[in-house]
Symmetry: C2
Subunit: 123 residues, 2 copies
DNA sequence: AAATCATATTCTAATTTACGAATATGATTA
DNA sequence: TAATCATATTCGTAAATTAGAATATGATTT
C-alpha cells in the first residue's frame, strides 16, 4: 500500500509555497514566537495567547505537519518546541524586507520602443 | 475622506503573515524567479510560464499590492521588475530550511514530572 | 476616431481554509 | 477500571482563495 500514489512530484516552488503558506497566518507566527525562547505545553500557549485549546491544537498540528515544531509527552502535558531555529532568521529577514517595501512605484519609461510582443496567446 | 477608517493597527505578525501569504503560491514564486535576472513584460511571463494572460495579470496585481514588484509602461507593454531583490535571499533561506525539515520527531520524555497545568480554560 | 495591441478588471464557480462546537483519545491517578 | 487531566480530532459552516471566462481599459498606430 503506497501512500499518495497519484501525487505528482511536487516542484521546488510548490514545496516552498507550502512552507510560506504555513507561515502566512498571524496566530501560527505568534505560536512560533512563543516557542523561540522556550519549550511550552499546549495549555501554556493557550494561556499566553488567550485562545481556545482546540484552536491552538489545530494550529500546532499544521506547524507539526510542516515540520516546524517538535513535541514530546511529559506526564499529562505535551510540550512543543521549535524543530528548526533557522525559521527565526527567516522571520527576521521577512520583517526587514517588509520595512523596505513601499508602494509600487510607477517608473517613467526610459525609451520609446513600442515593439509588438508577438508572444503566443492561448485564450 | 480617509481610507480604511475602521482598520485596526495591524500587528507585526499580521503584516508578516500577509507577506508570507503572498509568497505562498507556486505560480507567484515562479513569476518572482523569472524576474530575478531580468525585467519582463506580461506577455513574456505569459510565454515563459505557459499560462493565460489574465491569470498572470492577476498574480502580478497581488505581487504589486504586496510591494514585491514594480512596473513601468514601455509603449504597448508594461514591464515588471522586482521591487526588492532581498526576497531572493528569503527564498534561498526558505529553501535551505526546507532541506533541514524532517518528519516531526517524538522525543522521549526526560523526566517524569506530571504536574497539573492549572491554566485557565475558556471553552 | 477607429482599429489594434498589451494589459487589467470583473464575474463566477469550485476549492480550500478558518475556526467554533462537540467529542474522542491517551496518559495518569484514585 | 473509573475518574480526571491535557490534548487531539472530527464535523459543520462561513469566509477566503483559486483560477477560468468574458470584458474593459489605455496606449499606439492608421
Amino acid at each position: 500500500m503506497q501512500d499518495d500514489a497519484d501525487a505528482q512530484p511536487a516542484t521546488t516552488n510548490e514545496v516552498l509555497a507550502s512552507l510560506f503558506k504555513t507561515l502566512g497566518h498571524p496566530q501560527r507566527l505568534a505560536i512560533l514566537r512563543l516557542l523561540e525562547s522556550q519549550e511550552l505545553c499546549v495549555c501554556e500557549i493557550e494561556a499566553a495567547l488567550d485562545l481556545r485549546q482546540a484552536y491552538i491544537s489545530q494550529q500546532l498540528t499544521l506547524l507539526r505537519e510542516a515540520g516546524l515544531v517538535c513535541f514530546r509527552r511529559e506526564g499529562w502535558n505535551v510540550r512543543y518546541r521549535i524543530a528548526c531555529p533557522e525559521v527565526y532568521t527567516l522571520l527576521e529577514m521577512a520583517e526587514a524586507i517588509h520595512g523596505t517595501l513601499g508602494e509600487c512605484a510607477w517608473v517613467e519609461p526610459e525609451e520609446k520602443t513600442a515593439v509588438s510582443c508577438g508572444a503566443l496567446r492561448q485564450t
